[in-house]
């Protein structure tokens, strides 16, 4: 679930995406302009005749006629294999037209797919001239603003993490078990909110957040979960104070690094999904907090972090895929409502108080959120 280094191709991909969704309604290539009109395609069971294999950059229209006996499809692929446009379910005898934005000059591929499957009958298609994309600058700004907003949020949470962990470790060192217990979940909250960033700094993650059965061989069991075990199961040990000191020192390092981190839009998108994945595999299962059973606090914190990443990307998503944003908002609201059922006081009930049916309901609602949020990266990078 770590944030991975930005792929080298990201910049190019983003640029491509920006141009592709620039929304240019260039007249070039559209019917009636320049005498070009829709490019006729005759698809049969064995052939795919594209009347013209070249067009100027802009909106290109294809009119695909199925002269075969099988249901056909027509695709336009970018050089990297991405589907740029397609028209489905062309039954025998039918003609279907569709428009595709080919704003970047270069070589594309067309394909008919008789029977709807396989590689299809492919041919090169050339887009000439210069890029007809518009609006790229606007969208670029939106993404840059998203990154800036999210980095600010990470810095804020990092400060909270430090502050809350100071209070928690102080209580441990003072031997005040009740107070330490009451501060434990709150101390971890900011960590869980920015987990994809926080856990990306090498060995600090296992030292701070490692569980007893997860730490590597030869590595001491330290951090939040060691103190959790002391507080809820074993009682404070001789070295609990030292563990608390070490935890605070490690957190200080993480905070410094987190506040200096430079992110990119794709990392925000992947991070929003990674947090939901954490919830699905570690939190809703009750694995993370096996002694304190404060899993729902972590669940809520992960969820908040995911929502914040999407919030930062909101203007860009609104521009690129408003339907997806609508779907995400609706699913977020569903999960908020589900989570609210388990609030008590200013926190949450213990995981062990949840019935099987309630755990299933949380899981199912989370699945619905994740299925939508998983699409964000594709939209950001497309």
């Amino acid at each position: 679930m770590r944030i991975t280094p930005a792929p080298a191709v990201l910049g190019a991909a983003l640029l491509l995406g920006l141009t592709a969704c620039g929304g240019s309604d260039s007249d070039e290539g559209t019917p009636g302009s320049g005498g070009a009109g829709a490019i006729k395609v005759e698809a049969s069971d064995t052939d795919c005749k594209v009347a013209r294999t070249e067009a100027p950059a802009g909106t290109v229209e294809f009119a695909v006629t199925n002269k075969g006996s099988q249901v056909n499809e027509f695709y336009v692929y970018a050089k990297d294999g991405r589907v740029v446009g397609e028209v489905e379910n062309i039954t025998p005898g039918l003609t279907r037209s569709f428009k595709v934005e080919l704003t970047e000059p270069g070589t594309y591929e067309t394909a008919c797919k008789p029977g709807m499957k396989g590689e299809g009958i492919r041919a090169d298609f050339t887009v000439t001239g210069s890029s007809s994309a518009t609006g790229a600058a606007g969208s670029d700004e939106k993404l840059a603003a998203a990154v800036a907003a999210y980095e600010k949020y990470v810095a804020h949470e990092a400060d909270e993490l430090l502050e809350n962990t100071e209070a928690f470790t102080a209580a441990v060192k003072a031997g005040d078990v009740a107070r330490a217990k009451s501060l434990y979940a709150k101390a971890r909250g900011p960590w869980e909110e920015i987990e994809p960033v926080a856990e990306s700094f090498g060995d600090l993650d296992p030292k701070i957040d490692g569980r007893e059965d997860v730490v590597e061989e030869g590595m001491a069991f330290t951090g939040y979960h060691r103190l959790e075990k002391d507080l809820w199961k074993d009682g404070l040990q001789k070295d609990s104070g030292a563990v608390a000191d070490q935890l605070l020192a490690d957190v200080e390092q993480v905070v410094a690094k987190a506040k200096a981190v430079e992110l990119n839009p794709l990392q925000l998108a992947n991070g929003s999904k990674a947090l939901l994945d954490e919830m699905a595999t570690g939190k809703v299962t009750g694995e993370e907090e096996r002694y304190s059973h404060t899993d729902l606090y972590d669940f809520a914190a992960n969820f908040e972090g995911s929502k914040q990443a999407v919030a930062a990307l909101r203007p860009a998503l609104q521009e690129r895929d408003p339907e997806l944003l609508k779907a995400i908002d609706a699913r977020f609201a569903d999960l908020d409502a589900e989570l609210d059922r388990h609030r008590t006081g200013d926190g949450f009930v213990a995981y062990t108080q949840l019935s099987d049916a309630q755990v299933k309901q949380l899981t199912v609602t989370l699945d619905a959120v994740s299925e939508q949020v998983a699409k964000v990266a594709g939209v950001v990078a497309a």
């Binding site: 792929p7 991909a13 006996s69 039954t91 029977g115 499957k117 699913r331 569903d334 994740s370």
Partner: protein, 441 residues
């Protein structure tokens, strides 16, 4: 009331040996059969847009396990189309109260089902056409596999008509959860459901792929209530198919209704327009699916001697002939005495109690599957029969049959029913139409 097998015994018997070599081993299900695949594509093209090969599937389709089965038609596929070898059955709860959202999901499912039953990806470019940062819209495990006879059949449970979606007045009369039967040991986690999807295919990976992708499309609208995998058909639904064996090792479904007998299907399987006048008219051309998870006490059965086994079932174990007869398709004679003067087929034998002669003419189309869900934690096989039957009226057909069996069947000593559900499967989908269109329109 005479079954296809009885009126045309010679046809059945002639067909059986041919089929036996054709489907005898699963090696036929291999992937790279290029010629077969091409044939399959051509086959689907002819029927995809227009119609499916209705009640009489072509012999060619029955013999090529990789070929597609047409999705569109008067009736849904997966009922009288030849029973495939593998099953993935899922029962779903609808989690939204939003009728429009449910309809949107039903439409999206239909598009994906049309594609997958033709052997295509769940969405265009679904496996790797979405670019490096997009999430693949098809999960990919069936990418290189042929259609494998995949059928996807949808049904709606009685609970869907509870008022959440304004369907209360469209519930067909008498369509309700099955009553309890003597000896039932039902687990609520294996019962009921608002919607069921039955995926049958000749390749398990194709069936699982289909359900996996449909469930994925449904996240936010439905959640899985229970599901069941099946690995060997326990009935033949066509005279072109050899009779398979159940986990007791006996031939099962010899006397089943067959696709080649349209009159019997109209009488026993398909809901007729007169059955559902008024607001339930959406169900005309549909059929009711009864599902029962029947756990077999395998180890106990295996320690039972041959004579007892044959007396319990009412057939010979090796050849499958009714007791007192010589061959599998010989007419069942319930009156014929055995050597001791008692009926050759005992009063408590399964095939006697389940026979239409004993049930005042009641018949069902059986389409069940063997299952094994590993072991049960105390070292016994968790195996049995996932019974699926289609009928024109569950309350008039399945219920009396099961009552008769639950009371007296000698088999009860070796089985227990621990899952139960009933679903109303609407009529077939026309090109451009969608699952449940007649119900929701």
């Amino acid at each position: 009331m005479t079954g296809a097998h009885a009126s045309q015994p010679s046809v059945s018997e002639a067909a059986a040996p041919v089929q036996h070599t054709g489907l005898s081993r699963r090696g036929l299900l291999g992937v790279g059969a290029g010629a077969a695949l091409t044939g399959a594509v051509a086959g689907v093209a002819g029927t995809y847009a227009a119609k499916r090969a209705d009640a009489s599937p072509s012999p060619a389709a029955a013999h090529d396990p990789s070929a597609p089965v047409a999705f569109h038609g008067e009736h849904q596929a997966g009922i009288t189309t030849p029973a495939q070898d593998r099953l993935h059955f899922v029962a779903l709860d609808v989690t939204t109260d939003d009728r429009e959202q449910l309809v949107t999901t039903l439409k999206a499912w239909t598009r994906a089902a049309e594609r997958m039953t033709a052997g295509a990806e769940a969405a265009p470019g679904g496996v790797d056409g979405g670019g490096p940062y997009g999430v693949p819209q098809d999960t990919g495990e069936a990418y290189d596999l042929p259609a494998s006879g995949l059928t996807l059949t949808i049904g709606f449970g009685p609970s869907l008509f509870d008022g959440r979606f304004g369907l209360a007045d469209r519930r067909p009369e008498g369509f309700e959860d099955l009553p309890g039967f003597r000896g039932d040991d039902l687990d609520p986690a294996r019962c009921g459901g608002d919607i069921a999807i039955q995926a049958c295919a000749n390749d398990p990976q194709v069936a699982v792929h289909a359900i996996r992708n449909l469930v994925r499309i449904g996240f936010g609208t439905v959640s899985v209530r229970w599901s069941q995998l099946g690995f060997g058909r326990t009935s033949s639904t066509s005279t072109s198919q050899v009779t398979p064996r159940n986990m007791f090792g006996f031939k099962d479904g010899t006397n089943n209704l067959k696709a080649e007998d349209p009159e019997s299907l109209a009488e026993h399987v398909w809901v007729q327009p007169d059955d559902v006048a008024g607001k339930a008219a959406w169900m005309a051309g549909g059929s009711y699916l009864v599902a029962r998870r029947i756990r077999m006490h395998i180890e106990v059965w295996d320690r039972t001697n041959l004579q007892e086994q044959e007396q319990v079932i009412g057939r010979t174990k090796g050849g499958g002939a009714p007791l007192g007869q010589a061959r599998e398709f010989d007419t069942v004679d319930l009156a014929k005495p055995g050597a001791d003067g008692q009926p050759a087929i005992p009063e408590t034998a399964h095939i006697r109690l389940a026979s239409h002669a004993n049930l005042k003419g009641i018949r069902l189309l059986r389409r069940g599957y063997n299952f094994t869900d590993g072991t049960d934690g105390v070292g016994h096989l968790d195996a049995g029969l996932f019974f699926i039957a289609f009928c024109r009226d569950a309350a008039q057909q399945f219920v009396p049959m099961q009552k008769a069996l639950a009371g007296k069947d000698a088999l009860n000593e070796y089985i227990e029913h621990n899952g139960s559900a009933v679903f109303a499967c609407p009529p077939g989908v026309k090109p451009g139409g969608w699952w449940g269109q007649t119900l929701f329109s």
